[in-house]
């Protein structure tokens, strides 16, 4: 959401806010169909990309407003306004228009139309002109004395005095509504909610503000997402409902002459501009952005781990496809391909062979072209631990350790987190703390950080290997969960560490974790039904849209109540059937255990092929004709399937895959789905742990 008093500036601001890779109202890669017919078709159908098709049609294909109106049926008023943006776009692209010849009025007109400095720089660098950088536009703009003005949002146009602290910035103004004498501490919010960056970072932002206010600091929040609590103006001293771009954050920082800026509680978005803010003289509080950068950069991060003697999976920064292949063959498939500077594992993939390796490398470099791609050894069958921690001047203050129920390789946002961990061998907890301490020291952390560690059982019964696979020097999505389970607000501690005031004394919250009278488990909530055609499969790229956490006296109890609290999950009704699928990587023991349990509980066991039927013992083969969309409903009803357990581990290459079909069938027909073998086993254990006869009370 963007607030401005003109349509053009507001729209461009909103577009940029939706994704920082969008320049504004401008053509976008992937939204430039070649033929008129394709373009017309794209324009006729409202999608989330139509705005970019419009920009392409107007700017590159010279479609008239009239033609666009006929195609889109969008009211001409909007199209005229878009045309205003296009006129400005063309003026900046003009071969004779350079940064040197750009007058104050022209630049101001562009800013009033909502063009960002970076976008202006790009247009001034259009074909045949010398390249211009964002900072060059910024300094010319500043030499003209051009900056956005801060306006206040009240309910009635300023007719009555309304001393609200709810602000936005705009170039379509002549005065500021406020004076800048508070010099508050800025907190950068979470921005847009999407899979992987959601309300958990809003909780972190709000908790940071509350901590700062408690410490007596004036606070300035910057965020543009209306569904957040951080954009409730009573949470902070000043709320800028504005972009989280480098340009705007810096403008606000300069206007407010802020005392400093906190970048580590809003997720990846603020993190990505931290280094530039730091390099341009802004006081980034807490862990140095140089260190944040070192941790984000896979190459530098891995080198530092090597230096401090912390183990990690074998890794290599990609130089060429051939190199990557050679590396993969040396360490052995599977390998994990991942770009730097991404949240929620975007474009992160496991490659089981050379062909998929090549495909994933391309995807990774598309997603993050400015940062190197790293290939690491992917360890099968290992456990994964999540460490959320706060350090002050390189010393651990508090930390929490969660264990994933799923094997390592499922994105931590999609994994079921157990706190305290239930299956750690003796000594592991202390070693994890030791690793956390070393990392905190190496990166001189003051503030929150999060690590994922893989626990790989050693062959000879020795202590398991602990390998760090990821570290982010910021709050993570599990901070609220860990804070609530340990009754210790990690962000409060982190904020105090960031500003270096009233930092709590170090405390090992996990010291007696095995003696806690309870366990809490956080399980993911998926929205597969909303993602037509998506594969309900757990992998390294995050897919869940929410989470549920419950307490229990035992891990089994906590897991069962958490799972039952997930929207769409229920236990199969008596008389109904359980449908089970496996692939060649599934552990046969688990499949058999699950089948045996449900069979003994009186459910017919169904499966999709004779081989699996043989594996499961006494199972009936039921095949569906997925192409027959009409007949599917009747066929599914007739089969009486009320729970689908798909234990396949390979991510399918295409939609012809029968495991994909089974999972999708479950989702499409509202049948509860268990799609991980550890989770399936945990579910069976939890059901078997129930006192005899009580399970019936839980049937959906």
């Amino acid at each position: 959401m963007a607030i401005v008093s003109t349509f053009e500036e507001s729209l461009q601001k909103a577009i940029r806010s939706a994704d920082p890779s969008f320049a504004g109202f401008a053509p976008l890669a992937g939204c430039m169909p070649e033929t008129d017919a394709e373009l017309d078709e794209a324009l006729r159908n409202p999608t989330d990309r139509r705005l970019f098709h419009l920009a392409y049609a107007m700017l590159e294909r010279n479609y008239s407003v009239e033609r666009l109106h006929e195609l889109t049926r969008i009211d001409r008023w909007f199209l005229y306004k878009l045309d205003n943006i296009c006129a400005q776009h063309r003026a900046l692209c003009d071969p004779h228009q350079t940064l040197q010849t750009l007058g104050r009025a022209q630049l101001e007109a562009a800013k009033r139309m909502g063009f960002s400095d970076a976008h202006i720089a790009r247009l001034l660098s259009a074909a045949g002109k010398a390249a211009v950088g964002e900072d060059a536009v910024r300094s010319v703009r500043q030499s003209f004395g051009l900056r956005p003005f801060a306006k206040r949002i009240d309910t009635l146009a300023g007719e009555f005095p309304a001393p609200t602290n709810y602000l936005y910035t705009t170039y379509n103004a002549s005065t500021d509504d406020v004076s800048f004498d508070e010099h508050g501490t800025m907190v950068l919010g979470s921005g847009v909610y999407r899979i992987g960056s959601s309300v958990e970072f809003d909780w972190c932002g709000v908790s940071a503000i509350r901590a700062l206010r408690q410490l007596g600091h004036k606070t300035v929040m910057v965020n543009y997402n209306p569904e957040t609590v951080s954009t409730d103006f009573d949470e902070c001293d000043r709320l800028y409902f504005d972009e989280l771009s480098y340009e705007r954050v810096r403008d606000i920082y300069d206007m407010e002459q802020a005392g400093g800026v906190i970048v580590s509680v809003g997720g990846q978005l603020p993190q990505n501009i931290a280094l530039r803010l730091h390099q341009n003289g802004m006081r980034v509080l807490g862990t140095s952005p140089e260190k944040i950068d070192a941790a984000e950069d896979r190459h530098r991060f891995s080198r530092i781990l090597d230096e401090i003697g912390v183990d990690q999976p074998a890794w290599k920064e990609l130089v060429s496809v051939e190199d990557a292949e050679k590396f993969a063959e040396t360490v052995g498939f599977p390998v994990l391909v991942r770009p730097s500077y991404v949240l929620s594992g975007a474009a992160m993939n496991v490659a089981y062979d050379c062909e998929s390796l090549r495909r994933h490398l391309q995807l990774a470099s598309d997603v993050s072209p400015e940062h190197p791609v790293v290939v690491t050894k992917f360890i099968l069958g290992a456990r994964e631990l999540d460490i959320d921690a706060v350090a002050y001047k390189g010393e651990l203050v508090v930390h929490g350790v969660c264990e994933h129920i799923e094997d390592a390789g499922v994105h931590s946002g999609d994994a079921s987190l157990v706190l305290p961990p239930a299956t750690l061998p003796a000594g592991v907890m202390d070693r994890v703390r030791e690793i956390g301490g070393r990392v905190a020291k190496a990166f001189e952390i003051s503030g929150p950080f999060n690590m994922q560690i893989i626990m790989q059982p050693a062959d000879d019964g020795a202590e398991p290997l602990l390998k760090v696979i990821e570290c982010n020097l910021r709050a993570s999505r599990s901070f609220p969960f860990v804070s609530k389970v340990t009754d210790t607000n990690f962000i409060d501690a982190a904020t105090r560490a960031i500003v270096g005031e009233a930092v709590p004394a170090p405390r090992d919250l996990m010291q007696n974790a095995d003696k806690w009278p309870y366990t809490a488990i956080k399980v993911p909530q998926f929205s597969w039904t909303r993602l037509a055609g998506a594969d309900p499969f757990l992998g390294v790229e995050m897919a869940s849209t929410g989470e549920v956490a419950c307490f229990g006296r035992t891990p089994q109890e906590a897991y069962l109540v958490s799972l039952l609290a997930v929207n769409g999950f229920r236990l199969p009704q008596p008389g109904k059937a359980v449908y089970i699928g496996v692939d060649d990587l599934t552990e046969q023991r688990v499949a058999q255990k699950v089948a045996r349990h449900f069979a003994q509980a009186g459910y017919p066991i169904l499966t999709d092929c004779p081989e699996t039927a043989r594996l499961l013992g006494d199972a009936e083969v039921v095949k569906f004709d997925y192409a027959d969309r009409r007949g599917m409903r009747d066929a599914v009803d007739a089969s009486k399937i009320d729970l689908v357990i798909n234990l396949a581990k390979r991510r399918p290459e295409d939609k012809a895959n029968r495991d994909y079909a089974m999972r999708r069938m479950a989702v499409d027909f509202g049948i509860p789905l268990v799609n991980d073998q550890r989770c399936a086993e945990m579910l069976v254990d939890a059901l078997e742990a129930l006192p005899a006869g009580t399970a019936t009370a839980l049937y959906g």
């Binding site: 008093s5 001409r76 003005f149 146009a157 007719e159 005095p161 001393p163 005065t175």
Partner: protein, 424 residues
């Protein structure tokens, strides 16, 4: 020269939420090359330079703002805006162009509140150079040019409102040219010293809906078209009479009297006030007033009137009905108000503004005389109070059916009945 008191008031008003600058503001807007530049200059020194989209002329008026979000064609043709530079706080103006001049079954313009633009000039934040509406026949710019009204876009109207709120409605000059006019050379003249009502009023009697079953005298102080229409829609025959019409001579011929809205200060309308004072003494049938009508009736009843600092203009003014406690959302446009702190004998407050406590209406305790400060006819604005027209015409009709005489002297027989009703 600004008085020390005015300066103090301005400081107090703006201290709460607006930083003060030492020098008067001169705001610039990057006017599109090839377009004309316009300047809004306040008498207090502030200058807003923007783009011109109206007539290339210069004008002086009282700078007032309206917070209405819709209805610029209605507002601009509202005679109550006569002599004023109208600032729209809604930043996007001109979106739907200007509608065609269709007339309804009474011969009244459907989409305008009078025959021409009444305000002296308009001030907007972001003029839509291209409009989009099925009923539009020209752009706002073309309309302004055709009617000789200057218009300026690119003004930070929020900043302007802060200034006006602080120092009150201020005289302004709107001119088109490369440079602002030398402030010392502007011949400032306050339109409120003129009798604007006389300028806005009809000079001859005009009859609408001649077949109506009750006959209402609509005293035209600058009546909006929708007042005429609202009365006609209730089945009344409406005689639109000049503001200074000799009602006393023809009280018998009207079943009810209705005083319209109008521009400027009510204090110039001494003739109308005298007519009303006499009517209050002798007339027994319903009298109703809107806006200026409320002020004239108040003055005739003996209530003082004062100028509001910056007026109430907009479409979401809350007024509380003091007889029921109900709050209604109203359309308003007035710079003067009745001082209802002391009510004369026989009169009571009817409505009060929930925001600033200013008077929103009065009523006679015994006789069917009442008035409202707000605009129940809307255009634009909410229709929440449209019921007042039905109530008024029903009262008129009931009185006619009951045979209520126009004046007490004409039919003494009516008196005992009334006295009995009052006693009950």
């Amino acid at each position: 020269m600004v008085s020390p008191m005015a300066l103090l008031a301005r400081t107090l008003a703006s201290a709460a939420d607006t930083p003060l600058s030492a020098r008067p503001l001169h705001a610039h807007y990057p006017v599109v090359p090839g377009s004309l530049t316009a300047h809004l200059q306040l008498r207090t020194g502030e200058v807003f330079t923007g783009g011109s989209f109206g007539a290339s002329t210069a004008t002086i008026g009282e700078t007032v703002f309206t917070t209405s979000l819709v209805g610029y064609p209605e507002s601009m043709t509202d005679p109550s805006y006569r002599g004023q530079l109208l600032v729209f706080t809604q930043p996007l103006i001109g979106n739907h162009g200007v509608p065609r001049r269709t007339r309804d079954q009474y011969g009244i313009l459907k989409h305008f509140e009078s025959e021409k633009i009444q305000c002296s000039g308009i001030v907007v934040g972001d003029y839509a150079t291209k409009y989009s509406h099925w009923n539009a026949v020209e752009s706002l710019s073309e309309w302004c040019e055709r009617e000789g009204i200057p218009a300026i876009t690119g003004v930070d109207t929020r900043a302007l409102v802060h200034i006006l709120r602080g120092q009150g409605s201020t005289l302004g000059s709107l001119s088109v040219g490369a440079q602002p006019i030398d402030s010392a050379k502007i011949a400032w003249s306050d339109p409120n010293v003129e009798n604007l009502v006389a300028q806005a009023s009809t000079t001859e009697v005009r009859v609408f809906n001649p077949d109506g079953d009750v006959h209402i005298a609509l005293v035209d102080c600058g009546a909006k078209n929708n007042i005429v229409r609202s009365l006609c829609d209730q089945g009344a025959r409406v005689s639109l009479v000049p503001w200074n019409y000799n009602l006393s001579a023809s009280l018998d011929s009207f079943d009810g009297i209705f005083i319209s809205n109008g521009p400027g200060s009510p204090s110039h309308c001494t003739e109308a006030i005298a007519q009303l004072r006499h009517a209050f003494e002798v007339y027994q049938r319903p009298i109703f007033g809107i806006c200026m009508g409320n002020q004239l009736m108040g003055l005739a009843a003996g209530i003082d009137v004062y100028k509001l600092r910056f007026g109430n203009r907009g479409h979401n003014q809350p007024a509380i009905d003091l007889t029921t406690g109900r709050c209604v959302i109203t359309s308003q446009n007035h710079g003067y108000a009745l001082d209802d702190s002391k009510m004369p004998a026989g009169w009571d407050r009817l409505y009060v503004n929930a925001n600033d406590g200013s008077n929103e209406g009065i009523r006679h305790i015994e006789k069917p005389f009442r008035s409202v400060q707000f605009h129940p006819e809307a255009r634009g604005g909410p229709l929440d109070t449209a019921f007042v027209f039905a109530d008024f015409v029903n009262d008129v009709r009931a009185a006619k059916l009951a045979g209520v005489a126009a004046t007490a002297h004409a039919e003494l027989a009516a008196e005992p009945a009334q006295a009995a009703a009052a006693a009950a």
